[in-house]
């Protein structure tokens, strides 16, 4: 049996009514593949994984896989996940969100989760648009682009999700694309094994909305766009700012050690004082 078939048999829910909701060619399926491969590689059991999501095309992901799955409200997945993890620290809690989910309606939960450093993995599929509701602009829609609510051109500046996560204090942030599938596997694996709050931003395409409105072609052409505009962190370090103007970096953007919330909370529980610097 092919390796991929084995993984499908092991992880997809067989009692779930297929077909899935995604458009043919959507990048979310590629992200799901990477997620499953990384979980399998890390050796987590299905019972210990809790896969939490918000609302959107991306938010529909958990229903198809055989873990403890929690499809929450729009933007609130990280807050639900916070409760799950704190109530049962033995669980491996992974959160998948869309760009609107994570940094528009859920932006406040996102920066606070990064700052708080609870042991959670946040995977954000960034397709620069609200896919599920039909192609309205999101906080990551670039300046000048067309969406169904910016049909002239988009006049706002976009969030850079990964840099936002770094600034908010997340100890691990990686960015990949659905074109660079192998990199995505390894970023997810590292994120899952990281102790603390880990973010993986997945640049993807919504060819049926964003692609169509901005004449970016088919799913394949949009993936080629990803290939041509992504620069590895290592390579980017050698390049001039001018050369990086229309490019984005992929790879590990930050990986540092910070006190992890539940370890610190355990000190409160056992009465030993915190070790941190208490100055404001």
């Amino acid at each position: 049996m092919a390796e991929v078939t084995k993984l499908i048999h092991k992880y997809l829910r067989h009692d779930k009514k297929f077909p899935h909701v995604w458009c043919p060619g959507c990048g979310i399926g590629i992200m799901l593949g990477a997620l499953i491969r990384a979980i399998d590689k890390c050796g987590f059991t299905k019972d210990e994984i809790v896969l939490v999501s918000g609302i959107g095309c991306t938010g529909r992901l958990p229903v198809y896989v055989d873990f403890n799955t929690l499809h929450t409200t729009h933007g609130r997945a990280l807050a639900f996940a916070t409760g799950v993890k704190l109530a049962n620290p033995k669980l491996k809690v992974i959160v998948v969100m869309g760009d609107g989910d994570a940094v528009a309606i859920g932006g406040n939960h996102f920066i606070h989760a990064a700052r708080r450093n609870i042991d959670l993995t946040a995977i954000i599929l960034n397709n620069s648009i609200y896919g599920m509701t039909g192609g309205q602009y999101s906080p990551t829609t670039p300046y000048g682009m067309k969406t169904t609510t910016s049909s002239f051109f988009h006049i706002e500046q976009a969030f850079n999700i990964s840099e936002l996560a770094v600034t908010a204090g997340a100890p691990f942030v990686g960015r990949g694309t659905v074109y660079h599938a192998r990199l995505l596997d390894s970023l997810m694996e590292k994120a899952f094994l990281k102790k603390g709050f880990a973010v993986v931003e997945v640049i993807s395409h919504c060819h049926t909305q964003f692609g169509k409105l901005n004449k970016m072609g088919t799913a394949v052409e949009m993936m080629e766009w990803q290939r041509d505009h992504a620069v590895t962190v290592e390579k980017a370090a050698q390049m001039k700012e001018e050369e990086l103007k229309d490019k984005f970096r992929i790879g590990i953007l930050i990986d540092k050690e910070l006190p992890v919330y539940l370890d610190e909370y355990e000190k409160i529980r056992t009465g030993s004082s915190g070790s941190g610097d208490r100055r404001p």
Binding site: L70, H71, L86
Partner: protein
């Protein structure tokens, strides 16, 4: 008293909010998430020091939306969970409150009511969130809301709230007004006090046989906690018995009806209150929260003057105590409903009144309590 000789009791002077904390801990609450707001803040502050000492967890979230989300998540992972807030925060919780109803996740939400709308009167009492508790979240849904009027009731009702939420897999709201939340009264805890604690019914079948949202005679399916081997899907989308989203009318209808049935089939377990001298009363007062205290005083004073007045105190506000209310409507000529709002429960009383009984209201919305004198004056006026 024999009990007192043995000294097997503790007497404490507690605030309503502190009694809620004691009740929550006694009921087995092990997770609390909240965001500071007057007049509920004491609950957060106390649980932040109490919970870690008993292996529980406290977290201050970034807002009330996150607080209730964390509470629901913790409950799914197996912890009895609670949050506490006041009007503005309660409004923010409404969407996820609906999620907990839809996904049938037990949790307790305390709303220490202050004057509204909006920021309103942060430090003044009110009873104006009664209807928000009933209909605040969107969609047709059942809800349980309880209301204490003494410090002792704050304790008992909090335990009851956890029990009901665990039993019926539905969020339970405690509507406490600012007066009761901040008032101090002596409360006695006996060591040999028998307190029933109910824990959610877990599945007894092997995981392959578990159907997470299956209908049962009680309407309440057993609940598996995350991580215990029963992997299933939880969603706010309307779902079939396996928890998977559905748009089939023949699956939607029985699901929504079951949500209602699991509460309506068990009214007698959920509804409670007190009939105070209503049997022979010509005039009955229907009241709840701090107003029920003034109502009792007024009834006693009225009887001293020869007017037969009784009080029906409601401890369950939702589901509405129709049977109890009908009983006083049938025996009294006049019913007075004093409330610190423009008429939220009186509207329900009028709705169930099918006979000739006259219903009068007292509506106070100036941020002060309704006094016994004010009720007595109304009795004189209408009696």
């Amino acid at each position: 008293m024999k009990r007192e000789k043995k000294k097997n009791f503790r007497e404490l002077l507690l605030q309503g909010n502190e009694a809620i904390v004691e009740g929550a801990l006694r009921a087995g609450c092990r997770f609390f998430a909240g965001y500071p707001i007057t007049p509920a803040t004491e609950i957060s502050e106390q649980l932040s020091t109490r919970l870690p000492k008993i292996g529980g967890t406290f977290i201050q979230m970034e807002d009330e939306i996150g607080s209730i989300a964390a509470v629901i998540g913790a409950s799914l992972a197996g912890a009895k969970s609670m949050t506490a807030t006041s009007g503005p925060g309660f409004s923010l919780m409404q969407e996820n409150l609906g999620f907990a109803i839809m996904a049938e996740v037990p949790c307790v939400i305390v709303n220490a009511m202050r004057g509204g709308p909006s920021t309103g009167l942060p430090t003044s009492p009110s009873q104006s969130d009664v209807m928000q508790a009933r209909w605040g979240t969107h969609g047709d849904h059942p809800i349980i809301a309880l209301c204490p009027s003494t410090v002792r009731e704050c304790y008992d009702i909090t335990i009851k709230a956890f029990n009901l939420s665990e039993k019926f897999r539905n969020p339970v709201i405690i509507l406490v007004d600012e007066v009761v939340a901040h008032m101090r009264e002596k409360i006695t805890f006996y060591d040999d006090e028998e307190i029933d604690i109910f824990n959610r019914v877990k599945p007894s079948m092997p995981p392959e046989w578990y159907i997470p949202y299956e209908d049962t005679p009680s309407g309440i399916p057993p609940m598996a906690n995350f991580g215990e081997g029963y992997r299933y899907h939880v969603t706010g989308l309307t779902h079939d018995i396996r928890g998977f989203p559905t748009s089939r009318p023949d699956e939607i209808d029985p699901f929504i009806r079951r949500l209602f049935r699991k509460i309506s089939q068990h009214f007698s377990e959920i509804q409670f209150g007190e009939f105070f001298e209503t049997d022979d009363a010509d005039i009955s007062i229907i009241a709840y929260g701090c107003v029920a205290r003034s109502a009792k005083r007024a009834a006693i004073d009225a009887r001293a003057r020869g007017v037969k007045v009784g009080v029906l105190k409601l401890n369950t506000l939702w589901p509405f105590m129709r049977t109890a209310v009908e009983k006083v409507l049938n025996t009294s000529k006049i019913v007075i409903v004093p409330e610190m709002n423009m008429g939220q429960i009186s509207r329900e009383v009028k709705r169930v009144n099918k006979g000739p009984t006259k219903i009068f209201t007292i509506n106070k919305v100036d941020g002060t309590i309704i006094t016994p004198e004010e009720i007595l004056a109304r009795i004189k006026e209408v009696g």
